[in-house]
Symmetry: C2
Subunit: 394 residues, 2 copies
């Protein structure tokens, strides 16, 4: 009898352990999950976009200023790149840290390979790119951004590209590099030199064809056609003008936010109250839309019918919405102080907006512009949803 009870007790114990794991880790799909960066607290909030709720949070992520995120191929894990060189793999199903490493001294962003097997981080200090196994975060390749006389450049604008490649820009060197990771033991690096002064960020078009670096040290953009790399990097829009009104730049626009809507690219003009519309067939400016402030992000609704624009200080309480067919602003919203980021639901019916200084995330219907919900968040900045796992360049 005593033995029996002991057995039963043991069974109960083990079952309880198993159960508790499973209670915290409810069985659920991961297609409608996401994270909100809570920068000041060094934590992230996990959210569900179907229910419009927070479902958990994970802390202890270090310095999350300028933090960005990519997702695993199964949409279960988020990889968070912190400014302090921290790379953290978070399990969205259990709200726990699966793995955390400090991979550099100062880092600016990351990417995940087309097949989801490799995670890459771009670093300021030491300047270069490190590539990790997405499962274990063990180091696969270390690519110092060496140039000139044994100098090392800050690396910016890191993106994944089709064919298990990564592409990035060397800020100090004025170079664009492609790394082919098909053989993980032998990364093949192709370098494009003299592409322009101070590439400060880069993007890849949604089809993975064009890599575009914005230049800070001179006017224009550097464009690399990945379908025709032998043609080299082309400088375009050399008169696109950082300087028409010569305003001080409070915040550099983000290029990853550049929107392709229909056949055009919508880009924030640096130091100007305008969004520039570019035809990527000819790399010419086709129109320029005046905006409320200096744009930071110009992001297309997934169907490409609208482009949403936020602004740098002191105009960062506003949002403007461009109708792509009309090529005009059709709506203005004032969510509150410090609108830092926007993320659309996968098919674009709603958009989540971080309003940092109001400690809120606001959710809008993109058709009616009605505010549908508000979620409290601690100084929210970037918002990232899991469907990014399946997009090139996000």
């Amino acid at each position: 009898m005593i033995i029996n009870i002991t057995r039963i007790t043991k069974t109960v114990f083990f079952l309880t352990v198993f159960l508790s794991v499973n209670v915290f880790a409810e069985l659920k799909g991961t297609g409608d999950l996401g994270i909100v960066i809570e920068r000041a607290a060094g934590q992230v909030k996990l959210i569900n976009t179907s229910k419009r709720v927070a479902i958990g949070s994970v802390e202890g992520l270090g310095d999350l200023s300028h933090a960005s995120t990519v997702f695993s191929r199964d949409a279960r894990y988020a990889y968070i790149f912190g400014r302090d060189g921290g790379l953290t793999k978070i399990d969205l199903l259990t709200s726990t840290i699966s793995k955390r490493i400090i991979q550099a001294g100062n880092s600016i962003g990351g990417a995940i390979s087309q097949d989801g097997k490799l995670v890459a981080a771009s670093n300021y200090e030491p300047g270069g790119v490190k590539i990790f196994d997405s499962e274990t975060l063990s180091l696969i390749a270390d690519i110092p951004a060496e140039y000139g006389d044994s100098q090392y450049s800050k690396v910016v604008g890191l993106v994944d590209a089709p064919g298990r490649k990564f592409v990035f820009s060397l800020y100090d060197a004025g170079e664009i590099w492609i790394v082919d990771m098909n053989d993980t033991n032998k990364p093949l690096i192709k370098k494009f030199k003299g592409i322009g002064k101070q590439p400060y960020d880069g993007l890849i078009t949604p089809d993975g064809r064009y890599y575009v670096a914005g230049l800070y040290g001179e006017d224009g953009l550097a464009v690399l056609d990945l379908w025709n790399v032998d043609q080299g990097v082309k400088k375009v829009l050399t008169d696109y003008g950082r300087g028409i009104e010569k305003l001080p730049v409070y915040k550099m626009p983000h290029l990853e936010g550049w929107a392709q809507a229909g056949k055009y690219l919508f880009i924030p003009a640096i130091g100007e109250h305008a969004v520039i519309i570019i035809d990527p067939d000819r790399w010419l400016e086709v129109a320029r839309i005046k905006t409320y402030g200096q744009p930071v992000f110009a992001i297309a609704r997934p169907d490409g019918r609208q482009v949403w624009v936020n602004f740098s200080f002191p105009d960062n309480d506003h949002l403007q919405i461009i109708d792509v067919a009309k090529m005009d602003i059709i709506k203005e919203l004032v969510p509150g102080k410090a609108v830092l980021h926007m993320e659309f639901t996968p098919r674009g019916e709603e958009v989540w907006v971080s309003v940092r200084d109001e400690d809120r995330v606001d959710i809008y219907n993109t058709d009616t512009f009605d505010r549908l919900a508000q979620i409290p968040a601690d100084k929210p900045s970037g918002i990232f949803f899991t469907h990014r796992a399946h997009k090139i360049g996000l």
Copy 2:
């Protein structure tokens, strides 16, 4: 003591039940899952595209000829539309049927609304569309395809569109209808009459802007610009030719397979050994590529750099791959007898191909064209991956 044991026993019992559910339902992400239709057996195989393996199967799904699938917003559930009017909701995490109804006598396809809350089925018999709650499969709206003198038309080419809409074609009536489901109690129906003879299938462009119906009763396509519905339906490519070589049509091409790659649409020519390339800005044919047989599906790799084409009997052992930049066929594969369908992994590095008469699914690297794996399957037809949950029109 006795009371205690009873309590413990009860606890063990409930824990065991909970445990058993959770053992069969391993905690996992759902972003890399999918299903393969095993038509003859009336079942589906569940698969994992990261591991390239089958992870389960679900039987008892009725007549799965011409079956298609959409996915829930959380990527956990597949909705399978059977030819016999069966609509089955499958849980990919537990490999079980969550719900199954027979909603019509003869059905041809389905769609899920932009917000994932509504599932719609298009029916031949009785002709019309039924719309269900995606959670419970309870009927939300019944829309008979009534036309003329109280006749009912077969419904084809049903797709979701932005703004919680569905769009479809009435084969017998020659009409296109838009249903606005913003108020689920009051579906708003907009009808376009006289759009052409016998629209046999339809598609919506990936941006959700153009609805295109293929016409069987006459040459040409019917195009509706959903950004400008007041302009009505336009007939285009009226000379595109069902009939240049006047071949017998063994299998109608699928329009949902029509590819948008870059700025062009690639469409299978009916009754001709050719893929037609259309510029949707002007709705003109820009080129025509000769193919090995009569194309059934022409599907773009997600980056738009390739279009893969399969063929109707007797050429259905072949695949041809079009290079979009070169506008030419660059590769031919012969997987085996009865190549019925292809599905690309979300970012396009691999493609899964069903080879029905060989009882296999083959997986190819889309860069090297190497065959990476084979998965046994019972007369496989359609292959569908969960990332479709986040795409307009899929």
